[in-house]
Symmetry: C2
Subunit: 225 residues, 2 copies
Amino acid sequence: MKSPSHPRDRGIPEATVARLPLYLRALHGMAERGIATVSSEDLATAAGVNSAKLRKDLSHLGSYGTRGVGYDVEYLVYQISRELGLTQDWAVAIVGVGNLGRALANYGGFVSRGFHVAAMFDADPDVVGDTIAGLNVEHIDALEAVIKRRGVSIVVLATPAAAAQEVCDRVVAAGVTSILNFAPVVLSVPGSVDVRKVDLSIELQILAFHEQRKAGGPLMAVDTQ
Amino acid sequence: MKSPSHPRDRGIPEATVARLPLYLRALHGMAERGIATVSSEDLATAAGVNSAKLRKDLSHLGSYGTRGVGYDVEYLVYQISRELGLTQDWAVAIVGVGNLGRALANYGGFVSRGFHVAAMFDADPDVVGDTIAGLNVEHIDALEAVIKRRGVSIVVLATPAAAAQEVCDRVVAAGVTSILNFAPVVLSVPGSVDVRKVDLSIELQILAFHEQRKAGGPLMAVDTQ
DNA sequence: ATCCCTTTGTGAACCGATGCACAAAGTAGG
DNA sequence: CCTACTTTGTGCATCGGTTCACAAAGGGAT
């Protein structure tokens, strides 16, 4: 390290990474509306965060703003996209073509920028061969072969809970290291594999917790003692 | 407050609340398999967390374990359910009956314990009147009336992004204070309203970020200096 | 060129969450 | 009753993330 400044420290905080997509979406909206330049204040508002946090987040990618002016929308879109790895197009496979799998395949924002659904799998022979969102559903037996052939690097698990771990083991064995899991189970994977979990019932339960507090409020105090 | 101990401090950390549903699921599985008692070590493994964290989390609800023995599964299920507000049955409404809305309505784990879908709404006259998961789809015009009549307290937004804020304003005006938002927009709501957001494309983007790092690995180092 | 205004980038204090490590509290067995 | 063993509950150090507040850096006007 020669340069005194060390902008791209190669270590972006996890919390920051989780917000970058938010900024990116807000910026895309602005670009479409023809806005060329934006201040941290305005962008923060659009993304629903505090402006100091936004600036610190962006500072982790480098110094891409101009003091007294703000950030160039186009340029920032490019920088964030690059950082997130969206300048390439990722091949995603969906395993499990139930209601949720279908919804995901058809979900526009899913395929949006940087991703495309490259394959869909199911175990049910009645479903295999169907065309969903312009794509043929393959039998789960072909999992490994198709993943390799089409260069799939991200797998979305939308199987029933009971099948999730087995499918997971297979895709991991096939070399996949990024999994988005919708099945309500805790997957066990090697440390080198990234699993992100989306769990609808957990979100509901968290809402119920707060709702209960609001409803009961300070009055409740029924069985507290 | 007479008792010297103050177990249920009325202030459970957010991070703990987010994990309680995880413990609850693991405990349900154990109860079904006839396990009567579990140690923090085993429960933590089943839930995919560290045992010290689990114990600290549970200690926020009170002292429900027995030293040298562990936790009684049934009893702990009850305590966590009560804390999360799952001893009552929450009426949930789904707005937007596209692919995702349908998937949610049919999703088993969604309706599981403590929740039931009480109403579904859409703006499209072709969809209104359809029966999905045994429930009639109502027109969005009836939103306020139906919400009040059926005592809906949690609303799931599965509308297109463009419609989300307007629908949100209406459900808030109708008195709803808990919203689960699947639309890719930042909703603006009064501070008293709880919004949780589930965003599929954000999750994918986070995976892409890490995948890119792995792929490039320590070799990449192209434009770093 | 100088002054004033705007906005970034960041040092430092603060806050909540995590994980270690151990005393306290219980069981079991002789 | 006393000793050996197990497992909880928690004090404490640590860490990552958030927020404040301000110096540094740029633009524009005179």
